[in-house]
Symmetry: C2
Subunit: 281 residues, 2 copies
Amino acid sequence: MGLRTISESRCFGGVQGTYSHASTATGTEMRLSVFVPEQGRSSALPAVIYLSGLSCTEENFTVKAGAQRWAAELGLVVIAPDTSPRGPNVADDPAYDLGQGAGFYVDATESPWAPHFRMYSYVAEELPALIADKFPLRPGALGIMGHSMGGHGALVLGLREPGKFASVSALAPIVAPSQVPWGTKAFSAYLGQDRQLWRPYDATALVEDGHRRPDLIRIDQGEADKFLGEHLRPELFAAACARAGQAVEVHRHAGYDHGYFFVATLIGEHLRHHAELLAKR
Amino acid sequence: MGLRTISESRCFGGVQGTYSHASTATGTEMRLSVFVPEQGRSSALPAVIYLSGLSCTEENFTVKAGAQRWAAELGLVVIAPDTSPRGPNVADDPAYDLGQGAGFYVDATESPWAPHFRMYSYVAEELPALIADKFPLRPGALGIMGHSMGGHGALVLGLREPGKFASVSALAPIVAPSQVPWGTKAFSAYLGQDRQLWRPYDATALVEDGHRRPDLIRIDQGEADKFLGEHLRPELFAAACARAGQAVEVHRHAGYDHGYFFVATLIGEHLRHHAELLAKR
């Protein structure tokens, strides 16, 4: 698996890079951002995959979240993939919440999306193998987190792949896509009308259907987030976890909105959550 | 002086806002970004103006530097103005290093720039008065710093206005614009061909001409910065300061380039430099 270097910059003693590779999962060239702290020169390190939200590429998180400062301190590799396949030969939609930039971390079954929109397989299978091959990662010490649509992805991947991802957290996630407009629009397009087929991609449904994690799932949510009541609804996931006995903490923060100033404020605590769980691996 | 709120977001317990106002100095609507940490709700705080580099607006620093995390810890207000007047009725040039986005912190005397390109007066006079009026600032406790073209601006303003700016620092600054291509191009256009008229806008020349500061000037420079040898040349300023007895520290950092990953890595130490000097005011 070849990795093409788009850019590399020294940052907080480590290296912040942007790379691309030919993805077998999506059939496209996929970009990703990787920060390797200085400790990675001599040791294999725990790592966290960060999944971004609607309309983002691998770049938004990389330049806006300030994660490198904390990752350098904690000795964590941080990987941020793009949010969908892209390119002139890839299906798209003019809306920001469907198509390129809005992969929703599912394997699409419907036309015209099915050939390339396979972000679940990409993040669950191809990406972990790629980064393990190319960067100094400690086997088994991989966490996953995300923001908004990427928080949905992190919860779903964490619940379905507990053996692959040893820690899970989410910032302002879409926790019940089958029940909110962003999710029902995307799932109808990518997965079709049979709502039973949506359940493997809905964190709340996955908990209802028996999926569990042994570790605590951490969620943070801003209370001034304009998408909170319509699209995010963390209370639905919290209630399902309470009924099922799944450990979850939902921290609510007065005054914070949905943007990257919220992500930047909380990213340090989230990376610490992962570092503590991954230290045991 | 009215201030129009473009956006405000909670960030690290404080408020990160973007505002605009009708500038008397430039005759245009000018934008600025202001971070007020939580301490500003009950106290008047020291503040630092950050001047950005070529092609930047007030936004680049605001979203990329991660300054809010340190400013919240140190109790500093941080203000980032735009780098030039802008608008359809403002002179411009297709090059990235002249015209809109490239004000060079001078008061232009030449056509077509003179009517609006008055960034020296804007930063020296109008901006300090505006922020003192609108935000919880402690009188006399104002520092200035900048990056690249903005580092040039900070050094010049700091040397010419030591009574107004109580602390000065720069990241990868243009220290001798009269001697390098970026500066000679801009100064020829904005100030004309008489090089004597450039000296008040050249930090190295200002030191040669007797300008001094009582405090230490801090400069940081990446050694993998592709502009180092042609445009930045910190050794010219260091030599002038050594001859003149002006205290300066130039910290060089192996492997770091010119971009915001370098700024993000050093911004905490720079804000600390300012906080320590401003604490005495």
